[in-house]
Protein backbone atom coordinates (compact mmCIF):
# COMPACT_ATOMS: atom_id res chain seq x y z
CA UNK A 1 0.00 0.00 0.00
CA UNK A 2 2.70 2.46 0.99
CA UNK A 3 4.71 1.54 -2.09
CA UNK A 4 1.72 2.33 -4.26
CA UNK A 5 1.14 5.72 -2.63
CA UNK A 6 4.78 6.54 -3.10
CA UNK A 7 4.62 5.85 -6.82
CA UNK A 8 1.48 8.00 -7.15
CA UNK A 9 3.36 10.85 -5.50
CA UNK A 10 6.25 10.29 -7.86
CA UNK A 11 3.94 10.27 -10.85
CA UNK A 12 2.29 13.51 -9.72
CA UNK A 13 5.69 15.12 -9.34
CA UNK A 14 6.67 14.00 -12.80
CA UNK A 15 3.46 15.37 -14.33
CA UNK A 16 4.04 18.71 -12.61
CA UNK A 17 7.63 18.73 -13.83
CA UNK A 18 6.56 17.96 -17.40
CA UNK A 19 3.99 20.75 -17.20
CA UNK A 20 6.55 23.28 -15.95
CA UNK A 21 9.09 22.31 -18.62
CA UNK A 22 6.41 22.54 -21.32
CA UNK A 23 5.35 25.95 -20.05
CA UNK A 24 8.91 27.23 -20.03
CA UNK A 25 10.02 25.82 -23.38
CA UNK A 26 6.88 25.63 -25.53
CA UNK A 27 4.87 28.35 -23.75
CA UNK A 28 6.41 31.30 -25.62
CA UNK A 29 5.23 29.86 -28.94
CA UNK A 30 1.65 29.34 -27.80
CA UNK A 31 1.29 33.10 -27.44
CA UNK A 32 2.49 33.96 -30.93
CA UNK A 33 0.55 31.08 -32.45
CA UNK A 34 -2.69 32.48 -31.00
CA UNK A 35 -1.77 36.05 -31.95
CA UNK A 36 -1.29 35.02 -35.58
CA UNK A 37 -5.03 34.22 -35.81
CA UNK A 38 -6.35 37.09 -33.67
CA UNK A 39 -8.51 39.87 -35.05
CA UNK A 40 -9.68 41.25 -31.71
CA UNK A 41 -8.05 40.26 -28.44
CA UNK A 42 -8.62 42.19 -25.21
CA UNK A 43 -7.61 41.30 -21.67
CA UNK A 44 -8.75 39.36 -19.66
CA UNK A 45 -10.10 36.91 -22.24
CA UNK A 46 -7.74 33.91 -22.46
CA UNK A 47 -8.34 33.61 -26.21
CA UNK A 48 -9.08 36.25 -28.86
CA UNK A 49 -12.67 37.48 -29.10
CA UNK A 50 -12.53 37.26 -32.89
CA UNK A 51 -10.37 35.02 -35.01
CA UNK A 52 -9.24 35.58 -38.59
CA UNK A 53 -7.11 33.96 -41.28
CA UNK A 54 -6.41 37.33 -42.89
CA UNK A 55 -2.85 37.65 -41.61
CA UNK A 56 -1.92 34.14 -42.66
CA UNK A 57 -3.25 34.78 -46.15
CA UNK A 58 -0.65 37.55 -46.52
CA UNK A 59 2.05 34.92 -46.59
CA UNK A 60 0.62 33.60 -49.86
CA UNK A 61 -0.59 36.86 -51.39
CA UNK A 62 1.39 39.46 -53.28
CA UNK A 63 2.51 42.08 -50.78
CA UNK A 64 5.24 43.08 -48.39
CA UNK A 65 5.10 39.89 -46.30
CA UNK A 66 5.53 37.60 -49.29
CA UNK A 67 8.11 39.95 -50.83
CA UNK A 68 10.22 39.93 -47.66
CA UNK A 69 10.04 36.14 -47.41
CA UNK A 70 11.11 35.73 -51.05
CA UNK A 71 13.95 38.18 -50.54
CA UNK A 72 15.13 36.30 -47.45
CA UNK A 73 14.92 33.01 -49.34
CA UNK A 74 16.98 34.39 -52.25
CA UNK A 75 19.63 35.78 -49.90
CA UNK A 76 19.77 32.53 -47.92
CA UNK A 77 20.16 30.34 -51.03
CA UNK A 78 22.87 32.56 -52.51
CA UNK A 79 24.65 32.64 -49.15
CA UNK A 80 24.57 28.84 -48.90
CA UNK A 81 26.07 28.57 -52.40
CA UNK A 82 28.94 30.99 -51.78
CA UNK A 83 29.61 29.96 -48.21
CA UNK A 84 29.82 26.23 -48.96
CA UNK A 85 31.79 26.68 -52.19
CA UNK A 86 34.43 28.71 -50.34
CA UNK A 87 34.36 26.54 -47.21
CA UNK A 88 34.94 23.15 -48.90
CA UNK A 89 38.50 23.76 -50.21
CA UNK A 90 39.46 25.62 -47.03
CA UNK A 91 38.06 22.82 -44.86
CA UNK A 92 39.95 20.21 -46.86
CA UNK A 93 43.15 22.22 -46.40
CA UNK A 94 42.60 22.49 -42.64
CA UNK A 95 41.86 18.78 -42.42
CA UNK A 96 44.62 17.37 -44.63
CA UNK A 97 47.34 19.88 -45.45
CA UNK A 98 50.15 21.44 -43.52
CA UNK A 99 49.58 25.17 -43.72
CA UNK A 100 51.88 28.17 -43.46
CA UNK A 101 51.37 30.11 -40.20
CA UNK A 102 48.77 27.57 -39.21
CA UNK A 103 48.19 28.88 -35.70
CA UNK A 104 47.55 32.41 -36.90
CA UNK A 105 45.12 31.12 -39.52
CA UNK A 106 43.29 29.07 -36.90
CA UNK A 107 42.99 32.09 -34.63
CA UNK A 108 41.79 34.23 -37.51
CA UNK A 109 39.05 31.81 -38.53
CA UNK A 110 37.88 31.35 -34.93
CA UNK A 111 37.98 35.03 -34.03
CA UNK A 112 34.53 36.04 -35.33
CA UNK A 113 33.05 33.57 -32.83
CA UNK A 114 35.01 34.90 -29.88
CA UNK A 115 34.34 38.63 -30.32
CA UNK A 116 31.12 40.64 -30.69
CA UNK A 117 30.14 40.87 -34.37
CA UNK A 118 27.81 43.86 -34.22
CA UNK A 119 30.56 46.52 -34.62
CA UNK A 120 31.84 44.64 -37.68
CA UNK A 121 28.40 44.67 -39.32
CA UNK A 122 27.94 48.36 -38.52
CA UNK A 123 31.25 49.25 -40.14
CA UNK A 124 30.58 46.93 -43.05
CA UNK A 125 27.34 48.84 -43.62
CA UNK A 126 29.38 52.04 -43.69
CA UNK A 127 31.88 50.62 -46.18
CA UNK A 128 29.06 49.30 -48.36
CA UNK A 129 27.36 52.69 -48.14
CA UNK A 130 30.35 54.30 -49.83
CA UNK A 131 30.38 51.59 -52.50
CA UNK A 132 26.65 51.86 -53.21
CA UNK A 133 25.99 48.38 -51.81
CA UNK A 134 23.73 49.58 -49.01
CA UNK A 135 20.11 48.74 -49.59
CA UNK A 136 21.34 46.15 -52.06
CA UNK A 137 20.66 42.45 -51.80
CA UNK A 138 24.26 41.61 -52.70
CA UNK A 139 25.57 43.59 -49.77
CA UNK A 140 23.59 41.37 -47.41
CA UNK A 141 24.67 38.23 -49.29
CA UNK A 142 28.34 39.23 -48.87
CA UNK A 143 27.95 39.94 -45.16
CA UNK A 144 26.10 36.64 -44.64
CA UNK A 145 28.71 34.71 -46.61
CA UNK A 146 31.48 36.07 -44.39
CA UNK A 147 29.66 35.47 -41.11
CA UNK A 148 28.44 31.97 -42.04
CA UNK A 149 31.80 30.95 -43.52
CA UNK A 150 33.40 30.61 -40.10
CA UNK A 151 30.92 28.02 -38.88
CA UNK A 152 30.33 26.14 -42.17
CA UNK A 153 34.12 25.84 -42.40
CA UNK A 154 34.46 24.12 -39.01
CA UNK A 155 31.48 21.81 -39.56
CA UNK A 156 32.94 20.60 -42.88
CA UNK A 157 36.50 20.41 -41.51
CA UNK A 158 35.29 18.13 -38.71
CA UNK A 159 33.56 15.91 -41.28
CA UNK A 160 36.63 15.61 -43.50
CA UNK A 161 38.76 14.83 -40.48
CA UNK A 162 36.46 11.99 -39.45
CA UNK A 163 37.10 10.21 -42.78
CA UNK A 164 39.88 7.63 -42.29
CA UNK A 165 43.12 8.67 -43.91
CA UNK A 166 43.80 5.06 -44.98
CA UNK A 167 41.04 5.22 -47.59
CA UNK A 168 42.74 8.13 -49.30
CA UNK A 169 46.18 6.60 -49.00
CA UNK A 170 44.96 3.35 -50.54
CA UNK A 171 43.66 5.23 -53.58
CA UNK A 172 46.85 7.25 -53.82
CA UNK A 173 48.96 4.09 -53.71
CA UNK A 174 46.99 2.81 -56.69
CA UNK A 175 48.11 5.90 -58.57
CA UNK A 176 45.16 8.27 -58.22
CA UNK A 177 45.98 11.97 -58.14
CA UNK A 178 45.09 14.03 -55.11
CA UNK A 179 42.41 15.83 -57.09
CA UNK A 180 40.87 12.51 -58.11
CA UNK A 181 41.12 11.13 -54.57
CA UNK A 182 39.22 14.15 -53.28
CA UNK A 183 36.37 13.88 -55.78
CA UNK A 184 35.99 10.10 -55.68
CA UNK A 185 36.58 9.41 -51.99
CA UNK A 186 36.78 12.34 -49.59
CA UNK A 187 34.00 14.47 -50.98
CA UNK A 188 31.37 11.71 -51.43
CA UNK A 189 32.04 10.50 -47.88
CA UNK A 190 31.87 14.06 -46.58
CA UNK A 191 28.52 14.89 -48.22
CA UNK A 192 26.44 14.43 -45.02
CA UNK A 193 28.59 17.02 -43.25
CA UNK A 194 28.43 19.37 -46.22
CA UNK A 195 24.63 19.08 -46.26
CA UNK A 196 24.48 19.69 -42.50
CA UNK A 197 26.66 22.76 -42.95
CA UNK A 198 24.49 24.01 -45.82
CA UNK A 199 21.28 23.59 -43.82
CA UNK A 200 22.81 25.40 -40.88
CA UNK A 201 23.94 28.30 -43.06
CA UNK A 202 20.48 28.45 -44.65
CA UNK A 203 18.66 28.56 -41.31
CA UNK A 204 21.05 31.14 -39.92
CA UNK A 205 20.77 33.40 -42.95
CA UNK A 206 16.95 33.21 -43.00
CA UNK A 207 16.77 34.46 -39.42
CA UNK A 208 19.68 36.90 -39.40
CA UNK A 209 18.79 40.43 -38.32
CA UNK A 210 21.84 42.59 -37.57
CA UNK A 211 23.55 42.60 -40.97
CA UNK A 212 20.24 42.66 -42.85
CA UNK A 213 19.07 45.61 -40.76
CA UNK A 214 22.16 47.81 -41.02
CA UNK A 215 23.00 47.00 -44.64
CA UNK A 216 19.52 46.52 -46.11
CA UNK A 217 17.16 48.79 -44.22
CA UNK A 218 15.28 50.95 -44.89
CA UNK A 219 15.55 50.31 -48.62
CA UNK A 220 14.99 46.58 -48.62
CA UNK A 221 13.43 44.48 -45.88
CA UNK A 222 14.21 40.84 -45.27
CA UNK A 223 11.62 38.82 -43.34
CA UNK A 224 13.31 39.28 -39.93
CA UNK A 225 13.62 43.05 -40.50
CA UNK A 226 9.94 43.27 -41.46
CA UNK A 227 9.12 41.19 -38.38
CA UNK A 228 11.04 43.61 -36.20
CA UNK A 229 9.32 46.64 -37.76
CA UNK A 230 5.89 45.03 -37.31
CA UNK A 231 6.57 44.01 -33.71
CA UNK A 232 7.98 47.43 -32.80
CA UNK A 233 4.85 49.01 -34.29
CA UNK A 234 2.63 46.70 -32.22
CA UNK A 235 1.40 44.90 -35.32
CA UNK A 236 1.49 41.64 -33.38
CA UNK A 237 -0.36 39.57 -35.97
CA UNK A 238 2.00 40.21 -38.89
CA UNK A 239 5.04 39.84 -36.62
CA UNK A 240 3.73 36.54 -35.24
CA UNK A 241 2.91 35.12 -38.68
CA UNK A 242 6.44 35.86 -39.94
CA UNK A 243 7.96 34.51 -36.73
CA UNK A 244 6.13 31.20 -37.13
CA UNK A 245 6.99 30.89 -40.84
CA UNK A 246 10.68 31.47 -40.03
CA UNK A 247 10.59 29.08 -37.10
CA UNK A 248 9.16 26.05 -38.91
CA UNK A 249 12.31 25.16 -40.91
CA UNK A 250 14.44 25.65 -37.76
CA UNK A 251 12.41 23.07 -35.89
CA UNK A 252 12.17 20.65 -38.82
CA UNK A 253 15.87 20.61 -39.61
CA UNK A 254 17.04 20.61 -36.01
CA UNK A 255 16.74 16.84 -35.90
CA UNK A 256 18.53 16.40 -39.22
CA UNK A 257 21.64 18.39 -38.45
CA UNK A 258 21.94 18.43 -34.68
CA UNK A 259 24.19 15.37 -34.52
CA UNK A 260 26.67 16.87 -36.97
CA UNK A 261 27.19 20.01 -35.00
CA UNK A 262 29.71 20.57 -32.32
CA UNK A 263 28.43 23.30 -30.04
CA UNK A 264 31.85 24.86 -29.59
CA UNK A 265 32.01 25.76 -33.27
CA UNK A 266 28.53 27.10 -33.84
CA UNK A 267 27.76 28.84 -30.60
CA UNK A 268 29.57 32.05 -31.41
CA UNK A 269 26.83 33.18 -33.71
CA UNK A 270 23.44 34.60 -32.87
CA UNK A 271 22.31 38.19 -32.89
Amino acid sequence: MSVRRFSILKLTLKVVLVFIILMLVVGPFVGIAIWSFARVWYWPSPIPQELTLRYWSEVFRQGRVLDSLILSLKIALLTVGFSIAIAIPAAYAFARYRLPAERILLFLFLMPQAFPQLPVFINLARIFGKMGLRGNMWGIVMAHTMASLVFSLWIITATFKSIPLELEQAAQNLGASRWRVFWTITFPLGIPGVIAGAIHVFLWSMGEFNAAFFIGAPFIQTAPVLMYTASAGYNMQIASVIAIVLMIPSLLFMFVIERFLKAEYIAGIGG
Binding site: G27, A90, A114, P116, P119, I127
Partner: protein
Protein backbone atom coordinates in the same frame (compact mmCIF):
# COMPACT_ATOMS: atom_id res chain seq x y z
CA UNK B 1 60.72 20.81 -52.11
CA UNK B 2 57.71 18.56 -51.62
CA UNK B 3 56.94 20.22 -48.30
CA UNK B 4 57.13 23.62 -49.95
CA UNK B 5 54.67 22.50 -52.58
CA UNK B 6 52.25 21.17 -49.99
CA UNK B 7 52.34 24.44 -48.08
CA UNK B 8 51.65 26.30 -51.32
CA UNK B 9 48.71 24.11 -52.36
CA UNK B 10 47.22 24.32 -48.87
CA UNK B 11 47.54 28.07 -48.93
CA UNK B 12 45.82 28.26 -52.33
CA UNK B 13 42.93 26.17 -51.02
CA UNK B 14 42.22 28.51 -48.14
CA UNK B 15 42.92 31.68 -50.15
CA UNK B 16 39.28 32.36 -51.17
CA UNK B 17 38.13 32.03 -47.56
CA UNK B 18 41.02 34.20 -46.43
CA UNK B 19 40.13 36.94 -48.92
CA UNK B 20 36.48 36.96 -47.82
CA UNK B 21 37.45 37.09 -44.16
CA UNK B 22 40.09 39.75 -44.73
CA UNK B 23 37.89 42.07 -46.75
CA UNK B 24 34.62 41.60 -44.89
CA UNK B 25 35.77 40.90 -41.33
CA UNK B 26 39.31 42.09 -40.63
CA UNK B 27 39.00 45.34 -42.57
CA UNK B 28 35.74 46.47 -40.86
CA UNK B 29 37.22 45.36 -37.53
CA UNK B 30 40.28 47.55 -38.02
CA UNK B 31 38.06 50.36 -39.27
CA UNK B 32 35.96 50.14 -36.10
CA UNK B 33 39.05 50.56 -33.93
CA UNK B 34 40.38 53.36 -36.14
CA UNK B 35 37.05 55.23 -36.21
CA UNK B 36 36.76 55.05 -32.44
CA UNK B 37 39.91 57.18 -32.14
CA UNK B 38 38.94 59.81 -34.72
CA UNK B 39 36.79 62.89 -34.27
CA UNK B 40 36.43 64.77 -37.52
CA UNK B 41 39.97 65.01 -38.84
CA UNK B 42 41.66 64.71 -35.45
CA UNK B 43 42.76 61.72 -33.42
CA UNK B 44 42.07 61.40 -29.74
CA UNK B 45 40.07 59.84 -26.96
CA UNK B 46 37.08 62.18 -27.26
CA UNK B 47 34.76 59.36 -28.37
CA UNK B 48 35.69 57.27 -25.36
CA UNK B 49 35.18 60.20 -23.01
CA UNK B 50 31.74 60.75 -24.54
CA UNK B 51 30.88 57.04 -24.44
CA UNK B 52 31.80 56.74 -20.76
CA UNK B 53 30.11 60.03 -19.94
CA UNK B 54 26.74 59.14 -21.47
CA UNK B 55 26.78 55.37 -21.17
CA UNK B 56 28.83 54.37 -18.13
CA UNK B 57 25.70 53.10 -16.43
CA UNK B 58 24.74 51.06 -19.49
CA UNK B 59 28.22 49.54 -19.70
CA UNK B 60 27.98 48.36 -16.08
CA UNK B 61 24.41 47.18 -16.71
CA UNK B 62 25.46 45.14 -19.79
CA UNK B 63 28.22 43.41 -17.87
CA UNK B 64 25.90 42.65 -14.94
CA UNK B 65 23.09 41.30 -17.15
CA UNK B 66 25.57 39.12 -19.06
CA UNK B 67 27.08 37.85 -15.83
CA UNK B 68 23.73 37.00 -14.23
CA UNK B 69 22.58 35.33 -17.46
CA UNK B 70 25.75 33.27 -17.64
CA UNK B 71 25.50 32.08 -14.03
CA UNK B 72 21.83 31.10 -14.34
CA UNK B 73 22.45 29.43 -17.73
CA UNK B 74 25.35 27.39 -16.40
CA UNK B 75 23.35 26.31 -13.38
CA UNK B 76 20.42 25.22 -15.58
CA UNK B 77 22.66 23.40 -18.03
CA UNK B 78 24.54 21.56 -15.27
CA UNK B 79 21.22 20.43 -13.75
CA UNK B 80 19.87 19.23 -17.11
CA UNK B 81 23.19 17.60 -18.07
CA UNK B 82 23.57 15.97 -14.67
CA UNK B 83 20.10 14.50 -14.91
CA UNK B 84 20.61 13.24 -18.46
CA UNK B 85 24.02 11.79 -17.59
CA UNK B 86 22.38 9.40 -15.11
CA UNK B 87 18.94 8.88 -16.59
CA UNK B 88 17.60 8.58 -20.09
CA UNK B 89 14.61 10.87 -20.46
CA UNK B 90 13.66 11.41 -24.12
CA UNK B 91 11.25 14.22 -23.26
CA UNK B 92 13.90 16.34 -21.55
CA UNK B 93 16.39 15.55 -24.30
CA UNK B 94 13.93 16.89 -26.87
CA UNK B 95 12.95 19.91 -24.79
CA UNK B 96 16.45 21.19 -24.18
CA UNK B 97 17.31 20.97 -27.88
CA UNK B 98 14.12 22.55 -29.15
CA UNK B 99 15.32 26.19 -29.00
CA UNK B 100 18.71 25.43 -30.63
CA UNK B 101 18.19 26.91 -34.08
CA UNK B 102 15.40 29.39 -33.52
CA UNK B 103 16.64 32.86 -34.54
CA UNK B 104 17.23 35.26 -31.63
CA UNK B 105 14.90 37.87 -33.06
CA UNK B 106 11.99 35.44 -33.11
CA UNK B 107 12.72 34.37 -29.55
CA UNK B 108 12.70 38.07 -28.65
CA UNK B 109 9.28 38.58 -30.20
CA UNK B 110 7.86 35.38 -28.68
CA UNK B 111 9.21 36.32 -25.24
CA UNK B 112 7.77 39.79 -25.54
CA UNK B 113 4.31 38.30 -26.07
CA UNK B 114 4.88 35.59 -23.44
CA UNK B 115 6.15 37.86 -20.66
CA UNK B 116 3.95 40.93 -21.29
CA UNK B 117 1.77 42.16 -18.38
CA UNK B 118 -1.24 40.50 -20.03
CA UNK B 119 0.82 37.92 -21.88
CA UNK B 120 0.59 34.15 -22.09
CA UNK B 121 2.48 33.48 -18.85
CA UNK B 122 0.43 35.84 -16.70
CA UNK B 123 -2.74 34.66 -18.40
CA UNK B 124 -1.93 31.16 -17.24
CA UNK B 125 -0.58 32.03 -13.79
CA UNK B 126 -3.45 34.33 -12.80
CA UNK B 127 -5.86 31.49 -13.62
CA UNK B 128 -3.92 28.82 -11.74
CA UNK B 129 -3.20 31.01 -8.71
CA UNK B 130 -6.64 32.70 -8.89
CA UNK B 131 -5.35 36.24 -8.52
CA UNK B 132 -6.34 39.34 -10.42
CA UNK B 133 -3.16 40.88 -11.79
CA UNK B 134 0.54 40.10 -12.04
CA UNK B 135 3.25 42.50 -13.13
CA UNK B 136 4.66 41.92 -16.62
CA UNK B 137 8.26 40.77 -16.90
CA UNK B 138 8.98 42.04 -20.40
CA UNK B 139 10.69 45.43 -20.46
CA UNK B 140 12.39 44.65 -17.16
CA UNK B 141 15.79 43.17 -16.35
CA UNK B 142 14.18 39.92 -15.21
CA UNK B 143 12.46 39.47 -18.56
CA UNK B 144 15.71 40.25 -20.35
CA UNK B 145 17.64 37.66 -18.33
CA UNK B 146 14.76 35.18 -18.78
CA UNK B 147 14.89 35.49 -22.58
CA UNK B 148 18.69 35.24 -22.62
CA UNK B 149 18.72 32.15 -20.39
CA UNK B 150 16.08 30.57 -22.61
CA UNK B 151 18.23 30.79 -25.76
CA UNK B 152 21.64 30.25 -24.14
CA UNK B 153 20.82 27.11 -22.13
CA UNK B 154 20.54 24.69 -25.10
CA UNK B 155 24.06 25.51 -26.34
CA UNK B 156 25.56 25.44 -22.87
CA UNK B 157 23.85 22.11 -22.20
CA UNK B 158 25.10 20.69 -25.49
CA UNK B 159 28.67 21.50 -24.44
CA UNK B 160 28.37 20.46 -20.79
CA UNK B 161 26.39 17.28 -21.47
CA UNK B 162 28.85 16.32 -24.21
CA UNK B 163 31.67 16.59 -21.70
CA UNK B 164 29.74 14.71 -18.99
CA UNK B 165 28.94 11.88 -21.39
CA UNK B 166 32.46 11.52 -22.71
CA UNK B 167 33.77 11.07 -19.17
CA UNK B 168 34.65 7.48 -18.34
CA UNK B 169 31.89 5.82 -16.28
CA UNK B 170 34.56 4.17 -14.10
CA UNK B 171 35.03 7.44 -12.17
CA UNK B 172 31.31 7.70 -11.47
CA UNK B 173 31.01 4.04 -10.48
CA UNK B 174 33.95 4.39 -8.12
CA UNK B 175 32.25 7.33 -6.39
CA UNK B 176 28.95 5.43 -6.27
CA UNK B 177 30.67 2.44 -4.67
CA UNK B 178 31.82 4.54 -1.75
CA UNK B 179 28.24 5.76 -1.34
CA UNK B 180 28.27 9.21 -2.95
CA UNK B 181 24.87 10.62 -3.88
CA UNK B 182 24.16 11.78 -7.45
CA UNK B 183 24.39 15.44 -6.42
CA UNK B 184 27.70 14.83 -4.77
CA UNK B 185 29.02 13.06 -7.85
CA UNK B 186 27.99 15.99 -10.05
CA UNK B 187 29.65 18.54 -7.77
CA UNK B 188 32.74 16.58 -6.76
CA UNK B 189 33.46 14.46 -9.84
CA UNK B 190 31.72 15.65 -13.00
CA UNK B 191 32.15 19.42 -12.66
CA UNK B 192 35.85 19.42 -11.66
CA UNK B 193 36.76 16.89 -14.36
CA UNK B 194 34.90 18.78 -17.07
CA UNK B 195 36.14 22.21 -16.08
CA UNK B 196 37.58 23.19 -19.52
CA UNK B 197 34.26 22.49 -21.28
CA UNK B 198 32.31 24.33 -18.60
CA UNK B 199 34.69 27.24 -19.03
CA UNK B 200 34.01 27.26 -22.79
CA UNK B 201 30.26 27.19 -22.12
CA UNK B 202 30.72 30.09 -19.70
CA UNK B 203 32.71 32.15 -22.19
CA UNK B 204 30.42 31.56 -25.16
CA UNK B 205 27.33 32.38 -23.12
CA UNK B 206 28.88 35.58 -21.82
CA UNK B 207 30.13 36.76 -25.22
CA UNK B 208 26.88 35.95 -27.00
CA UNK B 209 24.84 37.72 -24.34
CA UNK B 210 26.86 40.91 -24.26
CA UNK B 211 26.98 41.12 -28.07
CA UNK B 212 23.28 40.43 -28.68
CA UNK B 213 21.26 43.27 -30.12
CA UNK B 214 17.95 41.61 -30.97
CA UNK B 215 17.00 40.30 -27.53
CA UNK B 216 17.46 43.64 -25.72
CA UNK B 217 15.61 45.64 -28.41
CA UNK B 218 12.68 43.21 -28.21
CA UNK B 219 12.40 42.53 -24.46
CA UNK B 220 14.84 44.87 -22.72
CA UNK B 221 13.73 47.90 -20.69
CA UNK B 222 13.82 51.34 -22.34
CA UNK B 223 16.47 52.41 -19.84
CA UNK B 224 19.07 51.32 -18.88
CA UNK B 225 20.03 49.70 -22.15
CA UNK B 226 22.53 47.09 -23.26
CA UNK B 227 25.47 48.75 -25.08
CA UNK B 228 24.54 47.06 -28.36
CA UNK B 229 21.27 49.01 -28.36
CA UNK B 230 23.22 52.20 -27.72
CA UNK B 231 25.47 51.43 -30.71
CA UNK B 232 22.39 51.06 -32.89
CA UNK B 233 20.91 54.35 -31.63
CA UNK B 234 24.20 56.19 -32.15
CA UNK B 235 24.32 55.06 -35.77
CA UNK B 236 20.64 55.25 -36.69
CA UNK B 237 19.49 58.41 -34.92
CA UNK B 238 22.64 60.48 -34.51
CA UNK B 239 24.82 59.22 -37.37
CA UNK B 240 27.54 59.23 -34.71
CA UNK B 241 29.98 56.53 -35.82
CA UNK B 242 32.73 57.65 -33.47
CA UNK B 243 30.85 56.97 -30.23
CA UNK B 244 29.22 53.82 -31.68
CA UNK B 245 32.65 52.41 -32.49
CA UNK B 246 34.08 53.46 -29.12
CA UNK B 247 31.30 51.39 -27.53
CA UNK B 248 32.18 48.56 -29.93
CA UNK B 249 35.83 48.62 -28.89
CA UNK B 250 34.77 48.74 -25.22
CA UNK B 251 32.75 45.57 -25.84
CA UNK B 252 35.85 43.95 -27.39
CA UNK B 253 37.88 44.88 -24.33
CA UNK B 254 35.25 43.48 -21.95
CA UNK B 255 35.39 40.04 -23.59
CA UNK B 256 39.14 40.14 -24.37
CA UNK B 257 40.36 37.82 -21.59
CA UNK B 258 37.58 35.31 -22.29
CA UNK B 259 38.14 35.44 -26.04
CA UNK B 260 41.83 34.69 -25.70
CA UNK B 261 41.12 31.73 -23.41
CA UNK B 262 38.56 30.41 -25.93
CA UNK B 263 40.92 30.82 -28.89
CA UNK B 264 43.72 29.03 -27.07
CA UNK B 265 41.43 26.20 -26.00
CA UNK B 266 40.01 25.71 -29.49
CA UNK B 267 43.41 25.91 -31.18
CA UNK B 268 44.79 23.31 -28.77
CA UNK B 269 41.79 21.05 -29.28
CA UNK B 270 41.96 21.31 -33.05
CA UNK B 271 45.68 20.71 -33.00
CA UNK B 272 44.93 17.56 -31.02
CA UNK B 273 42.45 16.28 -33.58
CA UNK B 274 44.87 16.97 -36.39
CA UNK B 275 47.73 14.97 -34.92
Amino acid sequence: MKRRRELFVGFLLILPALIVLGALYVYPLILSVYTSFTVGEKYGLANYAKAFDIYWRDIVYSVLISFVTTVVTLFASVVVSGYLRFRNWKFLELMYKLPLFIPFLIVGHAMRVFLAPHGTLNNLLTRILRIEELPGLSRSWIGLVWAFVWIMTPYATLIVLGAFRSLDSAYIEAAQNVGASKWKIIIDVLIPMCRPSIMVAFILTFVRTISSLTIPIMVGPASPNMITVNMMFRVNYFNDWGTANALGVISYLIVMVFAIYYLKFMAAERGGIKA
